[in-house]
Symmetry: C2
Subunit: 287 residues, 2 copies
């Protein structure tokens, strides 16, 4: 996202715990800061794209955090998938300092980010949307405006992740069971992708399984986290979520088996290891 903004002439001061990211940003024409606080010196807008709520907390309120350096009237756009309740509390804490919050979880991954083709499920006050309008128009293809309260965007994202996670786990279970039944898994993909059993995730992730390619387009640990958020919120609200719970256990099995940093389609490898089957298809392994 930073590179996309730099390429469209936005002045970008970046901070990342990985110094390589800072060097790449400088090479692309941005500037690298040594701390979150330094990155926002004199800025009225901060965009946070981190892995989870602990990191978001640290960026804002940790040592040399950004919140101290941000001034009254500035605004923060939080793009991470975090618990909706964290976002609501964060909006209050920032609001007490006169800092507005746009709740703006993303969908799309690094390639689409670089092309300005992200989807954003956002909520916040109309004036906060206005502050980030040019940024959103540059990084996103689709911006859903889902309410005026921070937390609503994250709740929509949570529901999306519930379904996405269950569908990846279901695709894994189904493809491994198809292999156990001796079916041609490439043919199974072709038939199901055009039938009532299809899902967006089935069509997107099963090709990774057929190719046996677990390069992390989206790492398995992300769903360990995101279904964890779903289940924590369900617990908090006393709402039963049996499918989410079963899917979360499958992602935890994948993480336990050492696939946490690999593509989330690796859930199928849990079934492959347990049952001694092979989903990879020779006829499609070169795609």
């Amino acid at each position: 996202m930073a590179h996309r903004l730099v390429s469209r002439a936005f002045p970008v001061f970046g901070f990342d715990v990985n110094p390589d990211a800072g060097r790449r940003l400088v090479a692309a024409g941005g500037r690298a800061a040594a701390t979150p606080a330094q990155a926002v010196e004199g800025a009225m807008r901060l965009i946070i794209v981190v892995a989870n709520s602990v990191q978001a907390e640290q960026v804002l309120f940790g040592t040399d955090g950004a919140a101290e350096a941000l001034t009254n009237g500035s605004a923060v756009m939080l793009c991470s998938t975090v618990p909706p309740d964290f976002v609501r509390t964060l909006a209050e804490r920032l609001g007490a300092k006169g800092i507005a919050l746009l709740d703006a979880p993303l969908s799309g991954g690094t390639v689409r980010a670089g092309n300005g083709e992200l989807t954003v499920m956002a909520s916040g006050a109309p004036e906060t949307f206005a502050i980030f309008e040019d940024v959103l128009g540059t990084v996103a293809q689709t911006v859903y405006r889902l309410g005026e309260q921070p937390g609503q965007g994250s709740t929509f994202k949570m529901i999306n992740q519930l379904l996405a996670g269950v569908h990846i786990a279901a695709a894994s279970e189904a493809m491994a069971f198809a292999a156990r039944n001796g079916l041609d898994t490439g043919k199974v993909f072709e038939v199901i992708a055009n039938s009532a059993g299809a899902s967006w995730m089935f069509c997107n992730r099963v090709p990774h399984m057929l190719a046996g390619d677990y390069t992390p387009h989206s790492a398995l640990e992300i769903f360990v986290k995101d279904l964890g958020i779903v289940l924590d919120e369900g617990h908090r609200l006393r709402f039963p979520l049996p499918l989410s719970a079963a899917a979360h256990q499958l992602f935890l099995m994948g993480s336990a088996a050492g696939f946490g940093g690999d593509d989330d389609a690796s859930v199928v490898r849990v079934f492959e290891q347990i049952a001694g089957v092979k989903v990879q298809s020779d006829s499609t392994s070169d795609t």
Copy 2:
């Protein structure tokens, strides 16, 4: 299917345990038989469209069953979703009498059947496909030829039903949880249907939930049966299926709550009753 075939000038002798079905077929130009055996007298082809393997067994081998009346060289097309292992055994039993079997489970429901727009996931010997070629061309829009062994078509259908059933249950869990979180459920449908959380079943069944319309386009009991087949086969093959098992329990809850004859989207009513939430959307209740 019988009406579709009659409308295309096929001579159809029908048998149904419901005499009304026979009368409607006669009114449409077909003929009604008093028993399965009578229906196949002098016929070389039998098409069976029943709810489960018990009924298929009865049609063929029960009192006045069709198998006794069928002659050497005839062929049976079995369109029901039944256990693949039942189909393999059936092929042997019929084969011993010189009767060929086309394993041809359907997808699509009564409206698409009437329009000749079904999808068929079929397997069988090429010569058996040839025997039913004109029939398949009349009732189906898409015919997948999935192998030469009866049982292979049913195995593909089983994998499809695993995914379809899990996706309906997941859509129910997600929509009810969205309602519990106070989201506008109509908006949730609109956003998710265009996001990575989408599935064919989500897009097809959630509108029934939003409208609160549980007219059975496909009855909930069908998935009690079909996920039951999935789990029985998993048990037989010693293959763990945690998501299918969780989804099956949700369909059983729906059946226990009295929704077995209603649309399968009724799984959402289990969550609505348990948690006291409402997924039906006023803004879309008139669609």
